[in-house]
């Protein structure tokens, strides 16, 4: 299991160092990621109040050391979206929220709209996440699918593998 104590260490250990190296200039990558996480953390507190997850840098590192594949997937989404709402949604799914429904409306070269409703396994209120940015659709690359008694289920949040 990993045992990192910095955000950059966790990102590189996860094999997602491109998040840093491809940023221009690279030395600004970690400050940028910190600002992004702070934005997501603020959104979580605003929307979820006392139920808000801890998205501090320390919490992300702690989770990485315990659940490296999950947080690797989160890092991948972090590199693909600028939407705090979708990043929060991804983190909530990692935390156990279940996808209750997905509404998608796309008109070529005209519009994109996605609405995802998450339900809590603890009986808390549903949470609704929306985006009109087509790049945010990429978050679904990380969602598992299965059929249970021939009925469809979105389930789980997984990291994509990097080519060898």
């Amino acid at each position: 299991m990993p045992n990192t104590n910095t955000l950059e260490g966790a990102i590189r250990d996860a094999g997602e160092g491109w998040l840093i190296d491809m940023y221009a200039p690279p030395e600004q990558a970690i400050p940028h990621i910190r600002r992004t996480l702070a934005d997501v953390d603020a959104l979580a507190r605003q929307r979820l109040g006392g139920n808000a997850p801890d998205l501090s840098e320390e919490s992300i590192i702690h989770h990485y050391n315990r659940f490296p594949l999950k947080v690797k997937g989160f890092f991948q989404v972090l590199g693909g979206t600028r939407s705090s709402e979708i990043l929060l949604m991804a983190w909530r799914i990692i935390q156990g929220m279940e996808i209750k429904s997905v509404l998608l409306n796309y008109q070529r070269q005209e519009s994109f709209a996605m609405q995802v409703t998450l339900q809590s396994p603890y009986g808390d209120d549903d949470e609704v996440y929306q985006s009109d940015r087509i790049q945010d659709f990429a978050v679904f690359r990380h969602i598992g699918t299965m059929e249970v008694s021939d009925r469809p289920v979105f389930d789980g949040f997984y990291a994509l593998r990097r080519g060898q």
Partner: protein
């Protein structure tokens, strides 16, 4: 579980095979609890299980079933209340006491989850 039936399923999902299987089983057993295959540590929810650090996981139908297995072992009343899932490279093994419609529902859900190609395709 003494004896039992081993069902071997090819998997490209690596260690995530265990999570896919555990999640599939929770749709059959919504109150399922889990135990670390090596340490025996118990978890009440699937997302709390550190699958990355284990090669096998025990999934119990509910907390009472887990208690029974921990306290009494493979007694007759524990029959088909636990599913043992093991990961080896390229392979997932699911062990049940006996194949029946309930276990087959779980197995089919596991197979459908493993078939999702997000677990086998690579990004560049």
């Amino acid at each position: 579980m003494i004896g039992g039936v081993d069902i071997r399923i090819n998997s490209a999902a690596g260690k995530e095979s265990l999570e896919i299987a555990a999640r599939a089983i929770t749709h059959l057993w919504p109150d399922a609890v889990f135990a670390h295959g090596e340490t025996g540590e118990r978890y009440d929810y699937v997302w709390l299980v550190p699958f990355s650090e284990m090669d096998e996981v025990f999934v119990y139908r509910d907390s009472d079933s887990a208690d029974m297995w921990f306290e009494k072992g493979a007694v007759p009343e524990a029959h088909n209340t636990m599913i043992h899932v093991l990961h080896d490279p390229g392979l997932l093994t699911v062990v049940v006491d006996e194949r029946n419609p309930e276990m087959d529902t779980a197995l089919n859900a596991i197979k459908s989850g493993l078939a999702d190609d997000i677990h086998s395709i690579c990004t560049v």
